[in-house]
């Protein structure tokens, strides 16, 4: 019965749905978010800030529910909390060991606040679901304008700070010794991450954001150690996930966030398995070589003892 329904949806409706206004907004918005995630995701992985990225997504929750309470646009609340939370984590958590605890503490406080605000305003429970799981199909024209502006700001900033940020991410003490402003770069990076999270939350939601910002970048880094190629690959993976996810959502009438995340995680799994298999094959070849070598060296011994 269910299978029959899905098949019907696939055959008849998906192309007109994909061409409709809300789906066009979703495709454009998803594309902008994918490009932004590709730009910043590489640095999230290199700087070991995956937990911070995950936490920032949740820190947006009280921003969104609080905005509903105050009657201001949800995106404003999201932005204030995400960027504000990013700056707090950036300023308090200078060392990675401190950062984990600071991040976790800010995260739990924010989640609690989000729940509190939600209990005050009864009509915000749909906002809560939207923030938790995203609603890429509800992206408005105004949101697209704000997305495009944020992406332009992000691309410009990353373009300017690319080399010093990479230097200070890969080798902090040497960058510091070379007078690279390591602290300023770290804070700037967190603010940019906050902006990206503000956007991405609206597309895939806080609970699933990790799969769009961190997973494609981690996949790309497994595929290539070249920074620029990794950023391009990461963006490409995000784009594939968003486009195929939206297409499949139209065909199968399933939540787009679920499909986007599933595709991103599937690509990561395939690359992870093939990477580890390659390593295993290399290791077994090496040990085969080694045993061959010992065999050949052992060969003469019985021959000489025999003669």
């Amino acid at each position: 019965m269910t299978v029959h329904n899905i098949a019907l949806g696939y055959q008849r409706d998906w192309w007109p749905i994909l061409m409709s206004g809300f789906m066009r907004n979703a495709l454009i918005g998803g594309t902008i978010v994918a490009v932004a995630a590709g730009l910043i995701g590489y640095f999230v992985v290199v700087r070991h800030s995956a937990f911070a990225a995950h936490a920032l997504a949740h820190i947006g929750l009280p921003g969104a529910t609080g905005a509903v309470l105050l009657g201001v646009p949800v995106v404003v609340g999201l932005g204030v909390f995400c960027v504000g939370g990013a700056l707090v984590i950036g300023l308090l958590g200078k060392r990675a060991t401190d950062r984990e605890v600071v991040t976790g503490t800010v995260l739990s406080m924010a989640t609690g606040l989000g729940l509190f605000f939600n209990s005050l305003a009864t009509k915000s429970s749909s906002t809560m679901t939207n923030v938790l799981f995203g609603n890429v199909l509800a992206i408005s024209h105004e949101q697209l304008v704000s997305f495009a502006t944020l992406l332009a700001l992000l691309a410009l900033s990353v373009g300017i700070i690319y080399r010093p940020l990479l230097f200070s991410s890969v080798n902090t003490p040497v960058a510091e010794a070379k007078r690279v402003p390591v602290r300023v770069l770290s804070t700037t990076f967190m603010a940019l991450l906050g902006l990206t999270v503000t956007m991405a939350v609206q597309a895939v939601g806080t609970l699933l954001l990790f799969a769009l910002v961190v997973t494609p970048a981690a996949t790309a880094i497994m595929l290539t150690p070249r920074p620029v190629i990794a950023m391009v690959t990461s963006t490409a993976i995000s784009l594939v996930a968003v486009w195929l996810g939206l297409g499949a959502a139209a065909m199968l009438n399933l939540p787009p966030s679920f499909l986007i995340v599933t595709i991103a995680c599937a690509i990561w799994s395939i690359v992870w398995v093939s990477n580890h298999r390659r390593v295993a094959v290399q290791a077994s070849e090496k040990s085969a070589d080694a045993s061959l070598a010992t065999d050949s060296s052992a060969m003469p011994t019985p021959a000489t003892s025999g003669s």
Binding site: R163, P164, A177
Partner: protein, 261 residues
């Protein structure tokens, strides 16, 4: 206070310098000059302020009092002419970057605005890799390299900007004997061929004795500078490390030191 004695030639000139970290006086009354072109060890027990001294030379922390000049300039202003190899280089991570990119960042890492590296820069990088005999490692991820190989890459990244002074913090720490020997040999070659001044924090002097010519030693809260012959002295080393140390003079070999416990 702001007037220092005119000094153009020495690598380091300390004039009554003291160091304070977290409100605590680490050392004081540093009064010596280190001539350019030497291979100098910084020695002393744990917590004596060896790394503090390096950081002061790099301009990362200010002198609490007195005047320090690095090649006649204030610390931090001469960093174009300094290559720095920190302790535990790329100890964590390094999976996202190739050795050649890590070295390239030593040359271009301070440049704002996105730009491609030039052919001349890439040539400099491959020269630096060749000098440390790590050309074959260029395309490998840092995370796949051994400790000794990483140390070579770290030295290449410091050399690529053609420094006059090379500062290394514990360059032999956590390396096996073979790698220690190779790195010491490399440092001796860099000094002989490139004429670079080398300043390095060290715990164990023995493996470094073939290349050292002098040392800054931190004794009783005061850094002093002396030639190697004066430093490799049983009484001084015993005082310095707070444990009896003998200096052995083999009939046809270099002197070495050992614990007399």
């Amino acid at each position: 206070m702001s007037r220092c004695e005119p000094a153009s030639s020495p690598a380091l000139a300390f004039t009554d310098v003291s160091a304070v970290r977290a409100g605590r006086l680490i050392w004081s009354h540093a009064n010596f000059t280190v001539p350019a072109g030497g291979v100098v060890a910084v020695i002393g027990p744990n917590g004596a302020g060896k790394t503090t001294l390096l950081h002061m030379v790099l301009g990362l922390i200010p002198a609490a009092s007195g005047c320090l000049e690095v090649f006649g300039r204030r610390p931090g202003q001469a960093n174009d002419t300094i290559g720095y190899v920190p302790q535990d280089y790329a100890a964590s991570g390094g999976e996202a970057i190739r050795a050649v990119d890590a070295v390239l960042l030593g040359l271009t890492g301070r440049r704002w605005a996105f730009s491609r590296s030039t052919a001349a820069q890439r040539r400099q990088v491959s020269q630096a890799l060749a000098v440390v005999e790590a050309s074959g490692l260029a395309d490998l991820r840092l995370s796949t390299l051994s400790g000794g190989q990483r140390q070579r890459i770290a030295i290449a990244a410091a050399l690529v900007a053609q420094p006059e002074l090379l500062i290394l913090d514990e360059p032999l720490a956590s390396l096996d004997l073979r790698s220690q020997h190779d790195i010491v040999e490399l440092l001796g070659r860099l000094h002989a061929e490139l004429g670079v001044t080398i300043l390095m924090v060290a715990h164990d002097l023995n493996p470094l004795l073939p290349v050292l010519d002098s040392a800054i030693y931190l004794l009783d809260g005061q850094p002093r500078y002396a030639t190697l012959d004066d430093v490799v002295d049983a009484a001084l080393l015993t005082q310095l490390y707070g444990t009896p140390i003998q200096v052995m003079h083999p009939p046809n070999g270099k002197p070495y030191m050992r614990s007399a416990l």
